[in-house]
Symmetry: C2
Subunit: 391 residues, 2 copies
């Protein structure tokens, strides 16, 4: 099997964007193409992650809209993936499989989303309902189970089972805001204290406003080529050495446990095995911290810390930039922002920067092996990707 | 490269369905699995086509909802494709590539959609707006360019360029209703006359009500395995010998011509080349007749008839069940119905029946080579699939 390499990455800043989705896409995609040093017509196929364009702004069938912006009309197929918050990581998986199998040589994968109330002119209440479309329609949506309340239930039970407390949750937000303050592409520039978090308004117990990621707009893109042709390109390439995607169940009540994300653990175990990498040899990770409690469950599912110890480990600083396993150097979904369908590829952009040594004042020292963890819905879809630095 | 075979197919009747999307899916998927004679746990990955679940009924993240119904939670990844009316043919393409490349051995591909006003409780006017989400948001949607008006513009120009007339358009509807009347899964059971069509109310000049496909609900599924393991299954297998997907441009005004679908021609030419099949050796075809004019442009793009002669050829009966090239024996989108994201796989189900000799009183005699043509939006995405009968 051929090795798939990331040869170029690009992204817009995350925040409020008013331009059409295809213009956000183009900003990210053209930057990735330039970074890779490939010609446009070398792109064999376009993989697009977008979760809510249809529901939020009556915008579907993005393939033709996007290929036009690359000058590839009638030259290239394009397909769009929607799998809630894991949309673009799943697009990445299919793109990587196409390169690994020799089906394609060079492909572009991109995630694009607009979901700020300001960018869309849809009010916050209605957006919250649309985000809940990933919840079970018959058993969860009628009860008002939004993303926040789903993760709140999981976290509340984690607190009961393992003694995790609100101060530990707040430490996740404080760390990620501190990292985001160093990331010019992050939606939030300011730092926060534990007190800021604990004093912020309650959203869904135990989550306060500052435990939650924001509504965001943005796009991210990556050029994937086979490792052989990667050597002929100008971009310093990063190899994808493990990638697994696993799907579990909805509603939440049918899942195996009510205080962890076993589907992410399963995807991680398979990705570790494929990459011949152990959790302790991961140098830096981007994980899906849509809520502070989600990051705690993520670092446990990834075996960075023991099950139940995520809160304590966070409070001890183990996941800080200079900790044993730096998590979310970009600021994560919490501070960098979470344009739903763009998040999976944005994680890859950050980790490519880290592995290339380009992450400036948020650079993790000696980062050689990186891991991305992207989940959809109540962690019913999970994708884990392991990458290695250029040699 | 391994050959990908269709070893099992299943579908619901098309019409009005009130059950949840996952139940429609299960009806089709379990039938396909039984037909193939595979065990559920042999399924390595699930490819889902659905176009409008998010916009129409706030229903996204179908992967986990669907894998649960197969008992495959935590055992199998699932991904959803949305590419307007070509959603499930594109899901098929990715599924076939995964099998051809050896990435997976056995996969399930399914298309599912609910879009009747009765099934959804969304009124017809609002549904029409949602269907227009595949049109260009800035240049077409504000002008009221729905699917009907996009294909009406193309057809009107075809009439101007080639002398195609309304009676020839009506002949498409008459033929497809006659075929649909023989298909127990079709939404419409009755036959229609040219006069019925010409007397029906005008929708978008030159299309009258009976030139247009209906709103429909339904699901279709197919099991794809590599040809080697297909031999060990009970289902009589059909090989996929050519499959191409090509994406062009939106808005319509930017496309190469205003009276044909060059992207479908390009996909067809590549599929013919891959299959080493000429248009004249295709025995039966299912084409995307969302409107009568669309079938005329389809049979020209596929080179079944000369460019501009689609209307004449139809009126001469060349595309009837006993004609030179039988087109839409199932009744097509026109009479069988068009649950948007299910259509691509429903075409495959019909052609598998035809190639197996199971199509009863709509069987095309000696059908050995079959072709499916599925387009999205204003034919800005096109997928052409060529299949061969079991030897």
């Amino acid at each position: 099997m051929t090795i798939a390499s990331i040869t170029g990455v690009g992204m817009t800043p995350f925040g409020v964007h008013n331009e059409p989705l295809e213009e956000m896409f183009a900003d990210a995609a053209l930057a990735a193409i330039d970074d890779a040093g490939v010609d446009h017509d070398e792109i064999d196929s376009l993989y697009i992650g977008n979760a809510l364009g249809g529901a939020i702004e009556n915008e579907t069938h993005l393939g033709p809209k996007f290929v036009s912006y690359l000058g590839l009309s009638n030259e290239c197929p394009a397909q769009r993936y929607e799998d809630a918050c894991s949309s673009s990581a799943i697009a990445l998986k299919e793109a990587v499989r196409a390169v690994q199998s020799g089906c394609h040589e060079t492909v572009l994968v991109s995630g694009v989303e607009r979901c700020t109330p300001k960018g869309t002119d849809v009010d916050t209440e209605h957006l919250t309902k649309l985000f809940a479309s990933g919840s079970h329609k018959q058993y969860e949506q009628p009860l008002g189970m939004t993303s926040a309340s789903v993760f709140a239930l999981l976290t509340k039970r984690h607190m009961y089972e393992h003694g995790t407390n609100e101060r530990q949750l707040a430490e996740v937000a404080v760390k990620n805001h501190a990292n985001g303050a160093k990331n010019p592409r992050a939606q939030f520039a300011g730092e926060k204290t534990v007190e800021d978090v604990l004093d912020s308004p309650m959203i869904s117990d135990p989550f306060r406003l500052l435990d939650c990621c924001p509504f965001s707009d943005g796009a991210a893109a990556a050029v994937i080529t086979n490792a052989e042709s990667a050597e002929t390109h100008t971009g310093s390439s990063v190899n994808i050495v493990g990638l697994n995607h696993m799907t579990s169940t909805l509603p939440l009540a049918d899942q195996e446990t009510a205080f962890s994300t076993p589907v992410a653990r399963r995807a991680a175990n398979r990705a570790y095995r494929e990459a011949s990498v152990s959790p302790s040899s991961v140098d830096v990770a981007e994980v899906h911290d849509c809520f502070t409690g989600a990051e705690i469950m993520a670092i446990e599912a990834l075996d960075f810390v023991e099950e139940g110890h995520g809160g304590v480990a966070t409070a001890e600083g183990q996941t800080q930039l200079d900790g044993e396993i730096p998590v979310n150097p970009s600021g994560g979904l919490k501070a960098k922002g979470h344009p739903v369908g763009a998040t999976g590829i944005a994680q890859i952009v950050e980790l490519t920067d880290q592995l290339r040594g380009n992450a400036k004042n948020r650079q993790v020292e000696n980062a050689r092996t990186a891991l991305a963890h992207n989940v959809g819905g109540s962690a019913a879809s999970a994708v884990v990707t392991i990458m290695e630095a250029p040699t």
